[in-house]
């Protein structure tokens, strides 16, 4: 099947198997390896990207479901010279260790801050609770998102 999808502002057209997962389209076909695959069951959130304006777990979205839509991955979060405040916050607050869950966490965090520029700690914990980090115990991820709220606000 043909799928046309705009990823981080660039339109791509590919002929794919109907069963191809969005995460594999992004990683294997488009070479955008910043999004990671972690569990197959929508539990870990290493694969979170935005589909239009909403974070989705791209291991359980078919590539063809993204046809005609926009996807944002971590590669589209900042620019090469200017980082999103969320990215800055993760580096400032030691919000990552191995870096594997980080892209998905940051994309969810950006979604939250766009809707709620002044979240509470509980808001942050709630919004990332569908994603797993094995390194940080979440504490510094929460601090990173709160840092971004304080130092960046809405893009």
């Amino acid at each position: 099947m043909k799928v046309t999808v705009t990823v981080n502002g660039t339109e791509y057209a590919r002929e794919v198997e109907p069963r191809l997962l969005l995460i594999h389209l992004l990683r294997d076909e488009l070479g955008l390896t910043g999004s990671h695959w972690g569990c197959d069951t929508s539990n870990c959130g290493a694969c979170v990207v935005w589909l239009d304006e909403t974070p989705v777990k791209s291991c359980t979205v078919l590539a063809v479901m993204a046809d005609g839509r926009r996807v944002m991955t971590v590669e589209g979060l900042g620019t090469s010279t200017s980082l999103d405040p969320v990215q800055q916050g993760f580096a400032q607050c030691h919000g990552l260790q191995c870096g594997f869950c980080t892209p998905g966490m940051m994309l969810t965090a950006r979604w939250l801050l766009n809707r709620n520029p002044d979240p509470s700690e509980a808001d942050v914990r709630e919004v990332i609770s569908g994603q797993i980090c094995r390194c940080t115990g979440y504490e510094n991820i929460v601090r990173a998102v709160l840092w971004a709220a304080k130092n960046g606000g809405i893009e």
């Binding site: 594999h24 390896t33 900042g78 260790q97 191995c98 914990r125």
Partner: protein
């Protein structure tokens, strides 16, 4: 968000600087194994056994080979023809790469399909026909030594039972005498259930065989690339200098990426067979069901004390379930790891433990998941027993610990099983934790709540670990002594490259090792590039696990840097036309004694060392240096943890309200990174205590094969931890540092369990096994505790 300042002692000169590696990770530019893609690369997938124990009658891959996208299928028979059907484990056992005779656990590897894309490789697995002759499975380790138990390892000649080893430590007679004479003894049977490290990135490899050059290039998820290279060389006969392993960015490890797995060897063999690069990346179920698990310790512990609460002795009897192959990774000669540090943090008269390891029809492993080589199990045992003793004596558990903790003047302290604890101030750490917690106020609150029918628990754990394996005289893995090298090159402009043998999985080595070298040489961390995870570019060493990077490799980096500094002194003396004795190292420079304005910094000295400057006889040019560090002893980090929980007796739900952690890991190189390590371990403690367990049914079906079933804590279950620190330098480490990577994983589970059991005290509950799920807690309240490791009807 309540961190507490360190309490005033030496904090080290390094600083909590942001990490150098984060620039790539926050941009999504890390390079993990599955990010590697090579021209012509094929994809591998493994056919796994659906049953726990069966004889293999036949494996027919004809239909799979006919799949249009399949390039090759390897079976056990194919590997046997190449002498690769079995491989050595890190414990000196052998493990099947692809099964030839029997399958011995659910998920065991049977065949390897290589196809042009990853989906096709999976499709073709369905086309392989395997005929099994079912055998009765051995699932319950407690029946492994029965006369009629199924024999797991009939491949081992002459073996008639499932016993792997019997091992003891301590003085049995002295311990028995202490117990006979004691006023009070308490005993308890407890299970430390099987859990899995579950790094977010699963295991994988890209293998590229270059037949022309005779070189094997591997990108692999390896915490120990040098050990893996030696193993591959021994297994395949390929010489070591023709094997290069790059272990790129790793998405967590926690011990899961220490062993060599069958999938790695299959990918190597497949690349040799097809002449093309082959990638194999396991899925989550494969990771949870087949790669190394942790714990599965069935323990009987006993503690003896005087009536007024002086702890006299400890005794433990352990049955260790190692699964179908003994593939644990710990120093040879320590089949139970460092479990015999179950003497804990107390001044005992005697202790004795005996451990029996057995085979079962479950996935192999046992030593993993930040366990410090079984210190996890040991700390859990002793800290549960101390709490039970406190209950029996009617003493406060904090008071009982304070009374029995080793005192600072007793260090170095040789414990009853022979470990020499290097340094510590235990009462101070416990006092600080109690102060942060507001311990007395918490007890008052608990009493008030109990009066209202609310169940709040306060759990304490005090732990001592021995980490940084280890002294080469008595610690090795497969004959490879546990010393690590460091190579330091200083360029003419005074910028440096440090190559190390250990491998970060998120611990931040690129930052902390740069800080170490920068401090020794008067440079900035930005002046020092750290190279790791590439066997062609780094010196030999045993890798990162058991909290050994800073204690061993960190020390090697210091020693190399000090060699550079010593030579720099000679060069500086030649530059300044003085005697080296006229110079002293002060504020990052070699300065003239009595005239500190005169001197030379490392950049000037480095340029001079590479110049035509005439050097004294015997002084080589340049400033490069190498070192191999052979640790004289382990380092012994310790800590005091307090966990506050609220338990709903109607549902059995446990909420962790507060977690206070005071850690002493000696001198802290980067306190921010140290605290991050502690945060992770506290989450591990909540996970293991409350939800994580790899459970099996009676047929040997693994019931923890996905993240739907194997539950991990999320941001909602983990409270914001309250950290404190004391700093007691290690006397034998060159910068006084100790390991920290596993402290909280080791120390926190008993704090959570002690807290829940404390909450349930009004119901008469004295013990309940992990994981304390709502169902398990509810059953404990009913007086009908469940056995957590088996789904028995």
């Amino acid at each position: 968000m309540r961190d507490h300042e360190q309490d005033g002692r030496e904090t080290g000169p390094y600083g909590a600087i942001p990490r150098k590696e984060d620039a790539r990770f926050v941009r999504g530019q890390g390079t993990f194994v599955d990010d590697i893609s090579l021209p012509g690369m094929l994809h591998g997938a493994i056919l796994r056994s659906p049953v726990a124990h069966a004889r293999i009658v036949s494996v027919d891959a004809t239909a799979a080979l006919a799949h249009p996208k399949v390039e090759a299928v390897l079976t056990g028979t194919d590997l046997a023809e190449r002498g690769l059907a079995w491989m050595p484990t890190l414990s000196g056992d052998v493990q099947a790469v692809l099964a030839t005779d029997k399958v011995r656990f659910q998920g065991q590897e049977i065949a390897f399909v290589v196809a042009r894309d990853r989906y096709a490789a999976r499709d073709a697995l369905e086309l392989i026909a395997v005929e099994y002759e079912p055998l009765p499975p051995l699932i319950d380790a407690r029946t492994a030594l029965d006369d009629d138990a199924p024999l797991v390892r009939d491949d081992l000649g002459g073996r008639t039972g499932n016993r792997i080893f019997d091992w003891t430590a301590g003085d049995k007679a002295a311990t028995d005498a202490v117990f006979s004479a004691a006023d009070v003894t308490v005993n308890c049977d407890m299970v430390y259930p099987r859990s899995h490290p579950a790094p977010l990135e699963t295991c994988g490899i890209v293998a590229a065989w270059d037949a022309v050059a005779g070189r094997l290039m591997l990108w692999s998820t390896s915490q120990a690339p040098h050990v893996h290279r030696t193993l591959y060389s021994l297994i395949t006969g390929q010489p070591e200098h023709k094997i290069r392993i790059v272990s790129p960015d790793l998405g967590g490890g926690f011990g899961n990426k220490v062993p060599v797995y069958p999938g790695y060897l299959c990918a190597i063999a497949a690349s040799m067979v097809t002449g093309r690069p082959v990638k194999w990346v396991e899925d989550r179920s494969e990771n949870l069901m087949s790669t190394t698990f942790a714990r599965d310790y069935h323990m009987r512990g006993e503690i003896a004390a005087t009536a007024d609460g002086r702890i006299l002795g400890l005794r433990a009897r352990v049955l260790a379930d190692h699964g179908a192959f003994n593939a644990t990774a710990q120093p040879a000669g320590y089949p139970a790891g460092f479990f015999h540090i179950f003497t804990g943090s107390y001044d005992l008269e005697a202790a004795f433990c005996e451990v029996t390891g057995v085979y079962t029809n479950k996935a192999p492993g046992g030593v993993a998941y930040s366990c410090s080589f079984r210190v996890t199990e040991a700390v859990y045992l002793v800290e549960r027993l101390v709490d039970m003793l406190a209950r029996k004596l009617g003493m406060d558990p904090a008071q009982l610990r304070m009374r029995n903790l080793l005192r600072p003047e007793q260090f170095p302290y040789t414990c009853a099983t022979g470990w020499q604890y290097d340094s510590g101030d235990y009462p101070r750490a416990l006092a600080l934790a109690m102060d942060i917690a507001g311990y007395d106020e918490l007890r008052r609150e608990q009493a008030e709540r109990r009066a209202r029918g609310e169940y709040m628990g306060i759990g304490i754990s005090f732990f001592t670990e021995g980490v940084g394996a280890g002294p080469r005289g008595h610690m090795d893995i497969l004959g490879l002594a546990m010393a690590d090298g460091a190579d330091l090159r200083v360029h003419p402009t005074g910028k440096a490259v440090l190559a190390i043998s250990v491998q970060t999985q998120g611990q931040g080595h690129e930052t902390t090792f740069a800080q170490i070298v920068a401090h020794e040489l008067g440079l900035t961390p930005d002046d020092v590039e750290v190279v790791h995870g590439d066997t062609d570019r780094t010196p030999f060493g045993l890798g990162t696990y058991g909290s050994r990077s800073t204690p061993v490799s960190g020390a090697a980096a210091v020693m190399a840097a000090r060699k550079v500094r010593d030579r720099a002194r000679l060069v500086a003396a030649a530059m300044l036309e003085l005697s080296p004795d006229d110079l002293e190292w002060l504020d990052g420079k070699w300065r003239v004694r009595g005239d500190p304005e005169r001197g030379a910094g490392m950049a000037e000295i480095a340029m001079a060392a590479h110049s035509s400057l005439e050097l004294p006889a015997g002084v080589e040019g340049h400033l490069d240096a190498s070192a191999v560090y052979n640790p004289p002893n382990l380092t012994f980090p310790f800590g005091a943890y307090i966990c506050v929980t609220d338990v709903d007796p109607a549902t059995g739900e446990v909420k962790v309200r507060r977690f206070i952690a005071v850690d002493d890991c000696g001198v802290r190189i980067n306190p921010m990174i140290v605290e991050g390590q502690v945060h992770r371990g506290l989450a591990d403690g909540i996970g293991m205590a409350l939800m994580q367990a790899i459970v099996f049914d009676e047929s040997g079906n693994c019931l923890g094969g996905s993240f739907m079933d194997y539950l991990l804590p999320t941001a909602l279950e983990c409270p914001s931890p309250e950290l404190g620190a004391t700093v007691t330098p290690s006397p034998h480490h060159p910068i006084g540092a100790k390991g920290i990577g596993e402290s909280a994983t080791v120390g926190s589970p008993p704090a959570v369990v002690n807290s829940v059991v404390d909450a349930l005290a009004p119901f008469g509950v004295t013990h309940a096994d992990m994981p304390l799920t709502p169902a398990s807690v509810w059953r404990a309240i009913q007086g009908r505790p469940v056995r957590p490791d088996l789904a028995l009807s």
